[in-house]
Symmetry: D2
């Protein structure tokens, strides 16, 4: 199973990325194969056809399971993440991907955002997203039990969705 983490934080090497990796490894039991720290793709994100961006899109599209992680900006996912998602083809770009929408926020007020706002974009790109959007507290996700509870409840559903398609 090929697993990728996409982090849409304007700062490279963010807690968003770290949390995405934790979710990926909690679901699959091993480290993610690839990481796309979107901001590191640079100004090519603002246009179409940049080689580095195209390669990152292909890495994601060729993955079996992808964790899409974003901080909460203005009660929704970031512009940085959406810039990257805008590079995928509608209905096709994530056709072979099981997607996990994850958002981190300072407090619980935006907990509905991953399910109501981030997941529908991934679905529009063709992803299979069988588990609820996951919202994490950005200061306690390493110590609270939220990721563990999510994986306990939804991990097998996510893995089964990959297995059904790939035969892994």
């Amino acid at each position: 199973m090929k697993v990728t983490v996409v982090a849409g934080n304007p700062k490279a090497g963010s807690r968003t990325l770290d949390a995405g990796k934790l979710v990926a490894s909690a679901v699959t039991g091993s480290t993610a194969d690839s990481v796309v720290d979107v901001i590191e793709l640079g100004p090519g994100l603002l246009g179409w056809g940049d080689d580095t961006v195209v390669q990152a899109v292909e890495t994601v599209a060729d993955s079996d399971l992808v964790v899409f992680a974003s901080p909460t900006f203005k009660a929704t996912y970031t512009g940085v993440l959406k810039l990257f998602l805008d590079q995928f083809a509608t209905g096709e770009g994530l056709r072979d991907v099981v997607a996990v929408p994850v958002m981190l926020g300072a407090g619980p007020a935006h907990a509905l955002a991953p399910e109501l706002l981030l997941k529908p974009v991934l679905v529009e790109l063709g992803a299979t997203a069988p588990a609820p959007g996951l919202y994490l507290a950005d200061t306690t996700y390493t110590t609270d039990s939220r990721i563990a509870e999510y994986v306990e409840r939804w991990g097998s559903v996510l893995v089964a969705a990959v297995t059904a398609r790939t035969g892994f």
Copy 2:
């Protein structure tokens, strides 16, 4: 595989119900085992604990695959359907159910509603909803190719989600 259709139309025996049955049989290849035409449950929907309503809730909760179908009222699902969904326990009521959100409308303007509005309620109840919300034209769903295309693309994903859980 136990399959149920829930129709949330204020009129009994509606096209909503008919469309829900068509989706269910297109996904599974056979007629739905049970039907809940919500409006026929009557005034017990307005309170808690009514025997007929409780029985309908159990029928749905015990199903493997449930099509939830609603007409589009005020750009979203109906109050009648939500009344019924309010009878289920949060996070638990649809825990063992693979859910398919379906809405019918007079024109395409509300096509985002099943994904953005109906699916999140089903997910909140614990359902696994691995396929996009399906929006149908209420005058042409029997003759257009929308249900067929949806099942071609998502039918195996839905069946696999049931199989993964039940071993069917």
Copy 3:
């Protein structure tokens, strides 16, 4: 200025109703002129044309400012409230109304629901909704400062929207 409070709680005389009244009086400085405790309208809500329901719809439609208050059920407004809203004509039913969407919940996790989910239904009915949806904690709304802060920030905007239309 004619002010009405609509409460969509399956229990009559609920905290939802109380909170709606508090918001209305905080915005306008006086007690609401009318109250629609939706559940008291009874089984006529499940059909069309019931006299009591029609009268309640007219009361709301003839108001200048209406607070629509709902508890949070399944991460959104109640079926009881939506049943009542389904009785209004699309684009017209709240054409002369300035609307305030209010939801109460047990914790902050659903704080986005009034803005993302309840307000769009009111807008679809033709209401002017110039202020954000308001989310209240159902155990502390009488003692915390949430309503006061909301009215401090948005009260004049709401009153101005009424004034602009009516000349009050």
Copy 4:
């Protein structure tokens, strides 16, 4: 009244910008005072504190009425527009602004997006958004009657919201 149009299209000089200008002049009766064609702000959008970006943010924040226009990408507004909106302070950045959410799309299927998805971001930034989100057909907005109908119904509401605050 100071009026600004913000266009969030990855292509400069787009129909999105043109449509935004048409909406602004239809509402106010005169040409917009300022235009922010977001993509022209360049790579400074990917970080914080870029002079050109800061100046554009101030132009918008100091406006009385702002039309925010976006094409529909992946069933919602663009990453380019969100990048720009992420530069504003939550609850404050658009505090003095009456905002008009506008989206253009190839067909009617995404007509709910301006109300359900774009408007809430503007509201989160503190904007007053008293009129519904406006969805335009990107091939016919210059010839169909959609803008005229919107302004007939909502133009006075928008102008009144500005007047109430500024005394213009």
